[in-house]
Amino acid sequence: MSTVPSLAVRLGSLELPYPTLMGSGCYGTGEEFAPLADLTRIGAIVLKSVTRLPRLGNPMPRIVHTPAGMLNAIGLQNPGIDWYLERELHKYAERPCKLIGSVAGFSVDDYARVCERLAARAEIAAVELNVSCPNVASEGETFGCDPGLTAEVVRAARSTTDKTLIVKLSPNVTDIAAVARAAEAAGADALAVINTVRGMAIDVDAWRPRLGNVAGGLSGPAIRPIAVLAVYEAAQAVRIPIVGQGGIETLTDALEFFLAGASAISIGTANFTDPRVPGRIVTELQAYLARRGLADLGALVGKANQGFTTPHQYEGDEG
């Protein structure tokens, strides 16, 4: 085949040249990684979650390395939406890729207000609702664990903006399909699946939890099978596109997610191993499609499930 396969993907009205998002909280503001990675060859950066009020975050230690992954309990350290909009966001305008704002909150009203103000800014191409942070004394995750509350948050946020709304789901639920459906029905344009898995590590010399916050969120390859299944189940429950994530480090990992039903992927912890991972995956994905004679990613999405019909978000697709 002579034409280069397209890696472009559409999430609601958001068009991205590559299907690779950099996971919230894992890629700073992009500035930190700019000398180490080619930001023109990533889809978008999902910025660190921001809340209505400033947060100091959790006490140390905040990170523990575990087999095939890590636990984190940052606790949403951020300057609050006022400072963020006044003093921070304009500095990110120079990035050569799209920026997705991430909102965390403790009430429906928090989400709606922060979403509205964030989405109003030109620097922000889309908004992700983090209803699934496991690191803030259970409140943060309450929303993502309950289909009704998820729907309320999404509905309230939806009424504030026409920009693409991505809802980030928690794996710490018994029925992720129910939460996925609730988010879709309430107006989500896409789902991010999954956030980190709750976990804990104990220092057996000190007889104490290793994390300052006791509990944390597990990420990295350790959670990949959990994430692949969550994507598979969510993809069958909804028609909106899914951003698959959880331990993606290689082309093979990425393919698993596409085949499970993800239309795009997000890379978080792998950037801590090697910041060249996202660039490598894009190059290899393009070569893979070319080798197989596939014109775009649509040909892969959900193909591990024979009854699955591909959502229409690829170039050249109708609707």
Binding site: G28, P54, I63, N72
Partner: protein
Amino acid sequence: MATIDTRVHATTVSERRELGPGVVLLTLDAAELANATRPGQYVMAIPPSGETAATALAVYETQGKLASLLFFTTGKRTRELAALHSGDRLDLIGPLGNGFDCSGDARDVAIVAGGVGIASVLLCAQRLVRLGSRVRLFYGARTAELLIESQRFADAGCELVETTDDGTRGAPGFVTDALERAPRPQAIYACGPTPMLRRVAQIANASGVRAQLSLEETFGCGIGGCWGCVVPLVRASVQAPSFPPAQAVNGDFVYARICREGPVFWAHELRW
């Protein structure tokens, strides 16, 4: 702060030496890195297997086009690096961190190193000696065979005060006890385990000596992107432009990133 020189360096191992039980010195062919690194800066070593997180390691020494890393094998990640041999490739991100301020206006300097902390202070010692300071190295380890590289510092022109926890070499006890007993220096530079650094900070603050402490912490990204490595600073000591959350948050302390605003902090700005 990450400097304009920070980037991914493809280096080659030119020599691997074992300096003691589980203590490895890797010398790398890394011209640009060697040239750009200042005392107290570090690198993130990208694991050749791609299977673990990157590891933060101090740049021990630079010489011409060579840069060396000195580390203790404590877990899976350092074991993988310790298994490298001459000719192997090792990719590094660096140089990273603010490093020590070695401007050299103190004529009588104490460097305090505990355990693997020794890896962070050689470049600093060499610089201070070159600037004409008297440099006393207070160097403590658990036991004699872990007191490595003392000769290297003596050759560099440092006066040595050694301690071991078990008394097998030098004075028995903690290195901070030796520091406390000694005539007061005009400036202190320190790197080692956190309890040692806390004690150095107490000694320095009580006697009004300015001390720079290089902190160790478990890193996530190691480059300022994840907020996983913070330390509380006295709020009043934090300057406005350096990091915004300080002004936005009420309270008497703010969290700074060890990997980005540090790893070196003034003892008097830490809220320990």
